[in-house]
Each structure stands twice: as structure tokens, then as C-alpha cells.
Amino acid sequence: MPTLAEEILGGPAGSYVDRAVDHGFAHDGTGVLALEAWQQMGMDAPAAPDRLAMIFDHITPANTGTTATLQAELRVFAKKTGMYFSDGGGGICHQIMSEGRVLPGEVVVGADSHSCTMGAFGAFATGVGATDMAAIWASGLTWFRVPETLAIRLEGHLSGAAEAKDAALAYVRDLGMDGGTYRALEFIGDGAGSLSMEDRLTLSNMAVEAGAKAGMFYADETTRSFLAGYGHDVAVQQQTDPRYETEVTLDLSDVVPLVTPPHRVDRAVPVEKYAGIVLDQVFVGTCTNGRFGDLERFGRMVRGKQVKVRTIVVPASRAVLAQCIASGVLSWIVDAGCTVGPPGCGPCLGAHMGVLGEGEVALSTANRNFRNRMGVGAEYYLASPQTAAASALAGAIASPEDVYER
């Protein structure tokens, strides 16, 4: 029986296939280089513009004249081709793609490493570089080596203040930074079924941190009802008990709030180990944890209190921001003394809107903590939105179990 990756790509693990791409997207960072490659290829019109998207999220609104000029050229190009275009402030590419665009069984390729996020829908989704994207614009196709699959069997369910982010930090730690290299991950078992769509997006998002090419869930009733909210009627995907290359187990009921210290993503430990480390900044957002549920859990904990450290909250998309406004979550966050940024990547990549200074220490809900990423000479810890809330209130790393009320 084929794995989900083999089924969707249409070949056995190890084989090479050429596949039509159902969704190809790029952002303002990778799009600039893709456009350059496109011009060098001498192309003028994409093969299938209705399957393409250009989403400005990385450095938006532009931080310097140089950035603005590069973006202006890319904006004109994207609009001319007729591809879907989302300007700065619309949100992070992965979030926008998750808002009813990607369906189970599709082949999704993004010019961004976290494109594996869309595997949460039972799609085969992976990241490529800019020149590959230019070739996809030109032909509508790309080649793949069909990956072997590593199954992560999720048992039990999350409890207390532990959340999907903690489970993600845990499996990346268990696999190691290259434990999934060249492989697709499949999240299976009863625990996988117990997770909400937002939780699954968080887990799939971090697959690349273990080196994996994809991180996939089978579409089930949860997927069906989520997509029904966007007007899609999709079928569930049957799990056929394929032969996995490797299978590991993660018991969700054992997962506790974790923190991953600088500068490796595979070193998660219980928050208590670093409790009391004084922080200069807390950042809540990104394609891992900038969704409504994340901001709501964060907001519920800071509601009616004051944060003790500068805290930046960036909704993953305009739809998330709108939901935060309509539900009142935004005022909890603002009243607690947080700074709210425009939907997008925010300070995640260290380019603008909250870059850290030399020697500063931060806690972030992002997915990677590589040296100097958020600021030269800075240190930062990865954690969940609730750990971020407890830490923002304390001004130092703190466990959400201490503040947590369900």
C-alpha cells in the first residue's frame, strides 16, 4: 500500500516524477530572485497563472527604499501575469494558503522552506528555491524524488497548558535537525485525529526543522468541516496501513510546556529548566503560531493584566486580525500593553519591526532559533503562545502552568 506521499506523487519512494503543481507560491523575499531567473530564462507569460500566487509577507510594509523598489517591480510583474496577489498586510503566505485555498491530495510548492505547512490538509506540500519557482511559473510542472516516509504515531491527547507547539518542539527534538532529511513525515494515530486544524498546521509547519520534505496528516472529518467553512466539499483520505521506512511514537499526554534554547531547534526541554531567564522581548506570531487560536490563548492569559517586557504580537493574516477584533481578543492584547504589528512575518526573520540588539534575550513563538536570525548577537528561545504569555507577564521565562486556567 502506498504512503500518502507516494499516492499523491504517483510513484514509489525513490523514483523521480514530473508533476503538475496545483499551487505554486512565492513571497517578496524569494519572488525577487525568481523574477530575476524568469527574466534570464527569457519568459513572458506563465503557463498556468490561476495556479500561482505571490504573497508579500516577509518585509512588509517595506523597511527601506531599496526593499520598496524591489517590491514595486515584483508587484507590477505579479499583477500583470494574473496570478493571485496579496500585498503587504494581507498575511503570511502559508496562512493565506491555509485559508481555504489548499485541498487534500493537491501538490503544493512554495518558494519558502515552511511550505510543508500545507501538509496539514493531506496535500503534498514542500518548499523549493527561487529558480525552481521560476521554472514552475514557466511550465506549471516540477520534478520530485518521491520521498521515503517516516511515520510519527501520535497517541493520547494534549492536556493542561501543553499545546500543539510543544508537541512540535518535542518531535523535532526526538528526530533531530536532520532526522527527517529527504523524507516525508506522516502524522498518524488517534492522537493525530484529536488535533484541530490549527494544531495540525503547527505540527506540519515544523517538519522542515527536522529536515523533512513534507509533514502530512490524512484528511478526516476535522479537515472536511474546516474546509466546508470555506465552501469546499472534500472527501476524507483512507489510511491504508502502508509500510513506513520508520515509525516513531509520541504520546501527546506526556507532552508538557517546552522551551527550545538558542541556537539549535532540536534541544527542547521543560520550561522550568530555563524559568527565570530575564527577557528583553517576547514575540507572538509567525506561520507556526500566529493563528486566531494562538492569539486567543495568549490573550486569555494576559487579559486584565500588564506585560512586564516589550511584547510584539503579529497576527498571521488579515482574517486572523479581523477575528481578533470581532471577538475582543485584540483589546485584551492591546490593553495588556502589547504592541500589535501588521499581519505578516514581523520580526521572525530579523529584518524589521522588532530586530533584537546585541546581547538581548527574547522568547518567540517562531519555528527556528538559528544564531543571529532575529538580531546579531541576540539569543532567543522558542515556545508556545501560552508560555509566551506567562513569560511576558513575568518579564522572564515562566511556565504557563502557573497562570493557566482552561
Partner: protein, 157 residues
């Protein structure tokens, strides 16, 4: 395609933020990337990469999909990168920009000595040993032989 160059040894898990930091991505000026490559690891490295064969540990190029990473190495004069394993997006990007990447185990590296390789015959010569490696897929070999995906594409038309 054969090549030779002086060895530069690097460790494992070299990520693309280290290869070229996000703060240098706001330009299309390749000379900036060449000058700043691996700066956060060792600022003196960039000057030693002309004609170099990098021998790194596993998982080279992990992290972001930025194609500026292999471009920066190529522009700085790196002839090839050898490692036991690569992050897959980096691997694909390297081929697409015409930077040879060689997946080989157990290549010794002292630093400064000459390393030779043959992409056609799939071997690396280092420290008096000839070490075989797994060849690239035929499609990747064609792209690399063309000098990258842009030239490969132009030649197809």
C-alpha cells in the same frame, strides 16, 4: 565534470542563515553576498573561499529556502561542497545555480590540502584516498552540466 581545489573544513548543521544572513538579502548585488558569506561563522572565511572545496558535516544548508546561500558560495569562488548529507532545498538550489554538491561519507579534511573530484565518475580524492559517492539523478546531472536551471531552460527552448 572534474574539479579540484583547496579544502576548507566546516562542521555539521551549517544553516542558511549562517551561510548568508537575512540582513544581506535586501539586495540583488551578488558581490555583497560573496563578501558576507559565512560571516557569522568566521568573518575571515569569505576571503579564503576562492578556489575552495568545502568539506562539511551532515545536514549542510538546513533552514530557509534562500537561494542566495548557494549563490553566495558560488560567487565567493567555492568550486564544490562535499558533505555526508544536505538539507534538501539547499541541495536542489545548489544544482539549480550550478554549484556542485557531493553527498559523500568519510571525506577527510585537514584544511588547505588539495581535494579533487569527478562528477562523471562519482569519486572524491582526499588525503590519499579515492572515495566513491552516489551519483545525482540524470535530470540533476543535466541541470548541473548546463551550469544551472536557467541555462538548462534556455537551452531547451
Amino acid at each position: 565534470m572534474n574539479g579540484r581545489g583547496h579544502a576548507v573544513c566546516l562542521g555539521a548543521d551549517i544553516d542558511t542563515d549562517v551561510i548568508i544572513a537575512g540582513r544581506y538579502l535586501r539586495t540583488k548585488d551578488r558581490s555583497v553576498w560573496a563578501a558576507r558569506v559565512l560571516e557569522d561563522l568566521d568573518p575571515s572565511l569569505a576571503a579564503r573561499l576562492q578556489g575552495a572545496v568545502i568539506v562539511a558535516g551532515s545536514n549542510f544548508g538546513c533552514g530557509s529556502s534562500r537561494e542566495q546561500a548557494p549563490v553566495a558560495l558560488r560567487e565567493a569562488g567555492v568550486i564544490a561542497v562535499i558533505a555526508p548529507s544536505f538539507a534538501r532545498i539547499f541541495f536542489r538550489n545548489a544544482i539549480n545555480v550550478g554549484l556542485p554538491v557531493i553527498e559523500a561519507e568519510g571525506v577527510p579534511c585537514a584544511g588547505g590540502e588539495e581535494i579533487a573530484f569527478s562528477l562523471d565518475e562519482h569519486w572524491v580524492e582526499a588525503g590519499g584516498m579515492r572515495i566513491p559517492f552516489r551519483p545525482l539523478s540524470p535530470k540533476m546531472q543535466e541541470i548541473l552540466a548546463a551550469g544551472g536551471l536557467v541555462s538548462f531552460w534556455r537551452a531547451r527552448e
